[in-house]
């Protein structure tokens, strides 16, 4: 299977979908001549021209809104926002418009668009470029939310997102763009709503969101080596729809759950998932559901502080061990 970087996988997905459908086009800040802030769109302007790869002014709300408008009348826009923090400027168009339009007009129109954006800490970009906001978008009915953590998922899910007729919030991770992974040749779109079981185990279920799926796998390896605990690691891959079956079945098997996310603790993905697990598998739980989250602060710049403000392998190991405290 070919190995490529996460950003190359995304690039391939865009290229293939643009070749397959004339109505797919890209809009975003510096995606054309500059080739993308993270080089995801490299080479696309050259192949598809300015009509389909459109550099925009720095006007996030209007870029997204234009995507919505063009999608309503037949195009399939893929809008890139330079970081998830900037998507807050477009919150009105995303929540009040993209997500609501089909519903509030009684199903007369659809909004087939993708809004791509990277999130996450680790590059010392400070409090306005480093956050993890999947919980904001998870909250909104009418949106689909994808959080791929591997190159293969990045490609398969982006292809699916572009073909889907709903507005999709597609959340990439800044520190994953350079990560390599195997990507199936001629792979088609993946199904939304199917979690990946990254590692099998009977002792504790660890659910990792976005990059934290990878951190969770490292923690699981360490748990096996050091503590003889076999963790099952689940990467939900999409948060809306959510593959709760796989999570629930795993928790019923292991009787313990740890949720790892990079975002803030209050009202986070983990808070939601913990509620769903206790609603659906309460009788199977042998310990309270543990959450490992980012620190409850704006992301600091200074390297040691930044590193302290998002979860690492050791945090996950400790949380998993905590679920065995009573034994």
């Amino acid at each position: 299977m070919p190995v490529m970087r996460y950003r190359e996988a995304l690039n391939q997905a865009l290229r293939e979908e643009m070749r397959a459908d004339e109505k797919v086009f890209l809009m975003g800040e510096d995606i054309g001549v500059f080739q993308g802030a993270f080089k995801v769109t490299a080479g696309l302007l050259e192949e598809f021209g300015e009509k389909r790869v459109r550099d925009t002014p720095i006007s996030e709300n209007t870029i997204v809104g234009m995507g919505v408008g063009s999608a309503m009348v037949g195009l399939r826009p893929v809008v890139e926002l330079m970081t998830i923090n900037f998507s807050l400027l477009a919150m009105d168009q995303i929540v009040n418009h993209a997500a609501a339009i089909r519903y509030m007009f009684g199903g007369q129109v659809k909004v087939p668009m993708v809004i791509r954006m990277p999130q996450g800490a680790g590059h010392q970009l400070g409090p306005t470029h480093s956050h993890s906001f999947e919980a904001f978008y998870l909250h909104v009915p009418g949106l689909l939310v994808a959080v791929p953590s591997t190159a293969a998922d990045a490609k398969g899910l982006l292809k699916a997102a572009i073909r889907d007729d709903n507005p999709v919030i597609f959340i990439e991770h800044e520190t994953l763009y350079g990560q390599r992974g195997e990507v199936p040749e001629n792979g088609g779109p993946m199904r939304f709503g199917e979690a990946a079981v990254r590692r099998q185990g009977d002792d504790v279920t660890i659910i990792g969101i976005s990059r934290m799926a990878i951190t969770a796998q490292k923690a699981a390896d360490s748990l096996a080596e050091t503590h003889e605990i076999e963790a099952e690691v689940i990467d939900p891959r999409t948060l809306r729809p959510l593959d709760l079956d796989t999570i629930r079945d795993s928790v019923k098997k292991t009787n313990r759950a740890v949720i790892v996310e990079e975002g803030w603790p209050h009202g986070g993905v983990g808070a939601n998932l913990a509620a769903l697990i206790q609603e659906q598998a309460f009788d199977w739980l042998d310990a309270p559901v543990e959450r490992v989250t980012g620190a409850d602060v704006p992301m600091p710049y200074s390297k040691p502080l930044e590193q302290a403000a998002f979860p690492h392998e050791e945090h996950v190991v400790q949380a998993a061990l905590a679920t065995f405290r009573d034994l």
Binding site: F25, K51, R54, T56, P57, S59, N61, T62, I63, V64, G65, M66, G67, V68, G69, S70, A71, M72, V73, G74, L75, P77, D92, Q93, N96, H97, I101, R102, Y103, M104, F105, G106, G107, Q108, V109, K110, P112, P141, G142, L144, A160, R163, D164, D165, N166, P189, R191, F192, G193, E194, R240, P241, L242, D243, L244, D245, E279, Q280
Partner: protein, 467 residues
């Protein structure tokens, strides 16, 4: 007043005198309201059929809005209700300039736009009543009318929210190589939103076929124009972004029509976006809940004397296009259509509670998805069966049905095995039957309660109420 100034406009000029532009002029100085020449004849009448259409559409809007106000007072309509009485010439003049293939998009004060574009009054009134036959199936209400068939792309409740959408539609018109144009109508208040500048810039930068029409009714909610905008000649506000603007008399359908027609032709043929400011006046409050303490009765009276419908009708009679009896007949037809719409809306059912979750998502074969996030649908949620997830979520979903209609805490309460045994002992065997009984009255009650006043008493009241 001879030059047609209202007290509001005089105030604009006085206030802005104290502010200076870089060239020593006051922002207000660029305004030349006298160019508007309210009340003067500016254009020859078009053919009689067009005259008749324009008049009857304006009358329909006026009568519809009056009746909507009454229905709101009778609590047939909920939420907010924003009436456009006074603005009919701006609405009809602008929309009459559109081709069938062109798009129209508007604000939350958009009943007039929908009617002018040809959405049936029945569909509009039913939407205000929150009924299944409403033009947005009762999901949108007064602020969110929509009619795909008529290419009316909606009313939007967020001030300035529709502007980026309209540029996106224009982009699609361009991308798909059609010669369709979108008419994007906004209020004066929207010109202060960030999306105004952003959208003007992008529309000009990308040469998009869009015509923006500011229906300047002189108030952003209760804040007068000169108190909310430093530049009060709104046709100038887009120019720095590359979108040329023109002002017109928003109380004269022919003037609006003429200026908007030129703008549409320019946008269509020259691929340059245009902006038109139609200066008009909102006779009624911002919404039905507006005590109107921010303006005088005299000011409103002054504008009512310039009424666009009366003035146009008078001119048609004076110039012999229509007889007075024909004018009255057109008005009677408008009233009849509105009466019919009220009857229709009253008879239309409320949406089924089971339809609560309709149209949140599009389901496609291409990318099938499993929608598990919400277990509180009235039925077992989609995908549950296909995945055969088992009895537990199935039961939860059925219990969760209570969420769809009730707010009945008892029905929502999770039962322990002990609870179930106790309930079983009190009410006989069969927990499922017991749960269903609890849910059943809950789900139907509010519907009948909400409809109650109307469904119960409406059948007879309809006939009487429709006069």
């Amino acid at each position: 007043m001879a030059n047609g100034y209202s007290p509001t406009q005089v105030a604009i000029r006085e206030t802005t005198k104290t502010r200076k532009n870089g060239d020593g002029t006051a922002p207000g100085d660029v305004t030349k309201p006298e160019e508007i020449r309210f009340g003067e004849v500016k254009h020859d009448l078009p053919d009689p059929e067009t005259c008749r259409t324009v008049l009857s559409k304006m009358m329909l809007i006026r009568r519809f809005e009056e009746r909507a106000g009454e229905m709101y007072a009778k609590a047939k309509i909920g939420g907010f209700l924003h009436l456009c009485i006074g603005e009919e010439a701006a609405i009809v003049g602008a929309t009459q300039a559109l081709r069938d293939g062109d798009y129209l998009i508007s604000t939350y004060r958009e009943h007039g736009q929908a009617l002018a574009r040809g959405t049936h009054p029945n569909g509009v009134m039913a939407e205000l009543f929150g009924r299944e036959d409403g033009c947005s199936r009762g999901r949108g209400g007064s602020m969110h009318l929509f009619d795909w068939e008529k290419r009316f792309l909606g009313g939007y409740g967020i001030v300035g929210g529709s502007l980026p959408l309209s540029a996106g539609v224009a982009l699609a018109c361009d991308y798909l190589e059609t010669d369709d144009v979108i008419l994007s109508m906004m209020g004066d208040g929207a010109t202060n939103q960030g999306t105004f500048g952003e959208t003007m810039n992008l529309a000009a930068l990308w040469s998009l076929p869009v015509v923006f029409v500011i229906v300047n009714n002189q108030f952003g909610m209760g804040t007068a124009l000169h108190r909310h905008s430093a530049v009060t000649d709104l046709s100038r506000k887009s120019e720095g972004f590359g979108v040329p603007g023109t002002r017109c008399d928003g109380m004269d359908a022919l003037d609006v029509h003429s200026v908007v027609s030129d703008a549409l032709a320019h946008a269509r043929e020259q691929r340059q976006p245009q902006l038109v400011e139609a200066v008009t006046y909102r006779y009624r409050g911002h919404s039905m809940a507006d005590p109107e303490e921010y303006r005088s009765k005299e000011e409103v009276e002054e504008w009512r004397r310039r009424d666009p419908i009366q003035a146009f009708a008078r001119r048609l009679v004076d110039e012999g296009v229509l007889g007075q009896d024909e004018v009255e007949k057109l008005d009677a037809e408008a009233i009849e259509a509105v009466d019919e719409s009220v009857k229709f809306a009253d008879k239309s059912p409320f949406p089924e509670l089971d339809s609560l979750y309709d149209d949140v998502y599009v389901f496609t074969d291409e990318v099938p998805a499993w929608w598990t996030v919400d277990e509180r649908t009235p039925e077992v949620h989609r995908g549950e069966r296909e995945r055969e997830a088992g009895q537990v979520p199935h039961d939860l979903a059925e219990k969760g049905a209570a969420y769809a209609g009730v707010g009945d805490r008892q029905a929502r309460k999770r039962r322990t095995p002990t609870d179930r045994r106790q309930e079983g002992a009190q009410q006989g065997p069969g927990e499922d039957g017991e749960a269903a009984e609890e849910v059943e009255p809950g789900t139907t009650d509010p519907a009948t309660a909400a409809a109650g006043g109307e469904v119960g008493s409406a059948e007879p009241a309809d006939e009487g109420g429709a006069d």
